[in-house]
């Protein structure tokens, strides 16, 4: 009983945080809510006996990726009117309802068919403990069965590093900063010329 209660609490919080993420005006606020959301999800992972994944989520995802986001937001130094709000228009509302409805229908249908599969049995804590803990077990699998993807992932990271550094480098010649100071309507004309 306790398990389900914890789950429902965490689930409710996760959903709330996500909604706040996408509806905040300030990007920094969104980032904070994203951090909360990730923490909550880490909690859910932990409740599923996946401690390693939870730790990784906090260290890498929260500690690095979101921090990167915040850095960039700060770097861009967005003017207040850049922080666009939700700006809901009628077609957007309709689209929103449509999307939500469709996903829910699909979920309901899928879940109904799947419910016979789950038996409510959680992971084998005894077996995992025997292997020396979740981290050790995941490590063993990673370095035996998944050693190729592991190596390729390191290549991927290397490529990402080089790519990011190169793309974000400043051009030798002065950039077109002129457009940033214009009003919105004039900006479009300045960028694309008159129609």
């Amino acid at each position: 009983m306790g398990q389900i209660t914890i789950f429902y609490i965490l689930a409710f919080l996760a959903t709330a945080c996500s909604l706040l993420v996408i509806s905040s005006k300030n990007p920094v606020t969104s980032a904070i809510y994203l951090v909360c959301d990730l923490f909550i999800l880490a909690g859910i992972y932990a409740s599923l006996q996946a401690e390693f994944v939870a730790a990784i989520q906090i260290i890498v995802y929260t500690g690095a990726v979101v921090v990167l986001f915040v850095f960039v937001i700060m770097l861009l130094n967005l003017a207040p009117n850049e922080q666009s709000s939700l700006g809901l228009k009628l077609p957007d509302i309709g689209f929103t309802l449509l999307t939500v409805l469709s996903f829910l229908i699909v979920t309901v249908l899928l879940v109904n068919e799947q419910s016979s599969v789950s038996g409510g049995a959680l992971g084998p804590p005894e077996a995992i403990a025997q292997l020396g803990g979740n981290t050790r077990a995941v490590g063993m699998t990673l370095f035996t069965k998944f050693v190729w993807p592991f190596e390729l992932a390191s290549f991927l990271i290397l490529a990402a590093i080089i790519g990011a550094v190169h793309i974000a480098k400043k051009d030798p010649k002065p950039a077109d900063k002129a457009y940033g100071n214009l009003k919105a309507s004039n900006r479009e004309k300045a960028i694309y010329g008159s129609p």
Partner: protein, 647 residues
């Protein structure tokens, strides 16, 4: 056997040196290299021959190196040294060296003699491969190689468009014959499991009976090879390249188109004699085609005015005789005629070359005449050749041609003999005509040329003398039994060649008719008719042309204008081929190109590309560039996919 390898490689080395290294060398050097290698090769050939005959003259097969070894199919570079191949080698290198020596003089005004001698040496090498090869594949290499060299040499003066076209014509028509050769090789391998001459011969002669399928296949095999021979040896209907091949330099015409390459077909049929003996139907066809070719070509030669064209058609005609000899199973007669023809035809061509050089490259006999006093050596030599070719008693042509005519009478019946005999009469007529028009009567050319007429240098008439002696004397190698009473020499040549071309075991075919005894009276009659026909035709020709184009000749031409025109235009065969074969091929090709390739295939391929571009143009309007819109569309698509998955 080291002599054999030296013999074979010398011309190749000469070709290599002349072709690659000595391009800038003076003409005398290239001539010396070209002729020198060949004379050395001839020396080797003579030594080899002596050695070979000293050991009894039994056939030997030597292996150079393994080439193709694919399971059941083997085609090593193996060479057969036997009486027939050595004979051919002697002819090729001997007459070849004489022609090489002569060519130095003939080509002394040319610029690129290195090219000439290189090709000529390469030709000799290829020809040696052809005659020495023990299996059909090595022979085919030589076959194709000589075809290539022929093309290269005919088009030697390639700046003139028609020379290049003549070269192409020779190559293409030869190619048509080669299809027959290839089919023959395939069938031989399929039905007999081997393409080696020695193995095939052993197979047929071993006494083991051949299966029904094999016997039937033999007819098709021999037919296929005969088609190849028609192409290479210029028989009907594939002879059309030989007259046009006269566009090449005269030594080329002498060597390739008189003495050696064109005899390759005859040699090949002699090599495959064991098959031809087993296929009497094909043999009948061979004899018929040979005789008809002889007559056909001789008739065209009657009215030709270009001295080389006369000799070209004469070659076609004489080749018809050789083929006829093969067709009636008289292989030794055919090969003997090959030998004598090589001598006297080379002589005639080289003599004509002397005349042409003296006349500053004028070849039309209508502008010649009375050259006897200006070119005495040439006249004397060519007289020997003339007497040989018309079959004057005592000269080589007499013995060889009469042998063939007699064997035609006994082996193929009076009709074939009649055609061949008529061709012989024509031969006498047109050869004497040519001789008279060139050397007798008044000079019909312009004064400028007349003042420059003089005998050529020794380098050109010395080979002529040698060839004249050969034309006169070589006939005595093969005196028929009929004349043993008068000329106490034996049938040396026949006995020499006999072991190679023996009849197969009796059970396999009925060859009684080929060795039946015929009464001597018939033989005398045949010989007598030939000699009489020759004499009459020669006298007629002298009467008509002894002093140039006599009024009688002109009136004859006027009386039969249509016949004259027909013969003059070579029976319009070239035009016929052009209309019936070449033009339709061109039209079909044009159709395939313009309509199938461009309009259909290209249009289809390009059309697909264009429709893709069109489609892209149509749908790319959707790409507004708005990221937002893209995202929305992606999600909508995702929803659709999900829906599809669920339902």
């Amino acid at each position: 056997m080291i002599l054999l390898w030296i013999l074979m490689l010398l011309p190749l080395v000469g070709a290599f040196f002349n072709g690659i290294i000595l391009r800038k060398a003076p003409k005398s050097i290239s001539h010396a290299v070209g002729a020198g290698t060949l004379i050395a090769a001839f020396g080797c050939a003579v030594a080899l021959f002596m050695d070979f005959m000293g050991q009894g003259g039994a056939s030997k097969v030597v292996l150079a190196f393994d080439w193709i070894d694919a399971g059941q199919f083997q085609a090593p570079f193996r060479y057969i040294v036997d009486r027939l191949s050595l004979l051919m080698v002697l002819i090729i290198t001997g007459i070849g060296s004489l022609i090489h020596i002569y060519a130095g003089g003939y080509m002394h005004e040319e610029k690129a003699t290195w090219r000439f001698f290189s090709y000529l040496n390469l030709f000799v090498f290829m020809m040696l491969q052809l005659v020495l090869g023990d299996n059909l594949l090595v022979m085919f290499i030589g076959w194709e190689g000589v075809g290539l060299c022929s093309y290269l040499l005919i088009g030697y003066w390639y700046e003139e468009d028609q020379n290049a076209q003549a070269g192409m014509k020779a190559f293409i028509v030869n190619r048509i014959g080669d299809i027959g050769f290839l089919i023959g090789i395939f069938l031989t391998y399929k039905f007999f499991g081997t393409i080696s001459f020695s193995e095939l011969r052993d197979l047929v002669f071993s006494g083991t009976s051949l299966t029904n399928g094999q016997l039937q296949a033999v007819t098709w095999i021999t037919l296929a090879f005969f088609i190849g021979a028609c192409g290479k040896s210029a028989q009907l209907p594939l002879y059309v390249w030989l007259p046009d091949a006269m566009a090449g330099p005269t030594p080329v015409s002498a060597l390739i188109h008189a003495a050696t390459m064109v005899t390759a077909g005859v040699y090949m049929m002699t090599r495959m004699h064991f098959f031809y003996y087993l296929a009497p139907d094909t043999q009948a066809l061979v004899a018929l085609v040979g005789a008809l070719t002889a007559l056909f070509a001789a008739s065209i030669a009657l009215v030709q005015t270009d001295i080389k064209k006369v000799l070209a058609y004469s070659t076609v005609s004489q080749l018809g005789y050789m083929v006829l000899g093969c067709g009636v199973g008289a292989y030794s007669a055919g090969v003997f005629h090959l030998l004598t023809h090589a001598c006297f035809k080379a002589l005639l061509f080289l003599g004509a070359g002397s005349v042409i050089v003296a006349m500053h490259h004028q070849q039309d006999m209508r502008h010649m005449g009375g050259l006897k006093k200006h070119l005495p050596m040439t006249h004397g030599a060519m007289l020997m050749g003339l007497l040989a070719i018309i079959g004057f008693p005592g000269f080589s042509g007499f013995f060889s041609k009469d042998e063939i005519l007699w064997k035609a009478w006994t082996g193929a019946g009076p009709w074939i003999w009649g055609i061949a005999a008529l061709a012989a009469v024509f031969t006498s007529f047109y050869m004497v005509r040519m001789f008279m028009l060139t050397f007798y009567g008044k000079f019909r050319g312009d004064h400028h040329t007349e003042s420059h007429l003089h005998e050529t240098s020794w380098i050109m008439w010395a080979p002529l003398i040698v060839l004249a002696a050969l034309s006169a004397g070589i006939g005595f190698l093969n005196v028929p039994p009929l004349l043993h009473h008068f000329i106490p020499l034996g049938e040396t040549f026949h006995h020499y060649l006999e072991p190679v071309i023996a009849f197969p075991p009796q059970g396999l075919l009925h060859w009684e008719h080929l060795v039946a005894e015929h009464p001597h009276s018939q033989e005398w009659m045949v010989m007598g008719i030939s000699v009489a026909g020759m004499v009459c035709a020669s006298l007629f020709a002298i009467a008509l042309y002894g002093k140039g184009f006599s009024p009688l000749a002109e009136s004859l031409a006027r009386r039969f204008p249509n016949a004259h025109k027909l013969l003059e235009n070579k029976y319009y065969i070239d035009e016929f081929y052009d209309a019936a074969i070449v033009q339709p091929l061109k039209d079909v090709s044009l159709f395939l190109w313009k309509i199938v390739d461009v309009s259909i295939i290209d249009a289809a391929v390009n059309g697909i590309a264009q429709s893709c571009a069109l489609l892209a143009g149509v749908t790319s309007f959707k790409m507004t560039g708005s990221l937002h819109r893209h995202a929305v569309v992606m999600i909508v698509g995702l929803l659709c996919m999900l829906t599809a998955l669920v339902f």
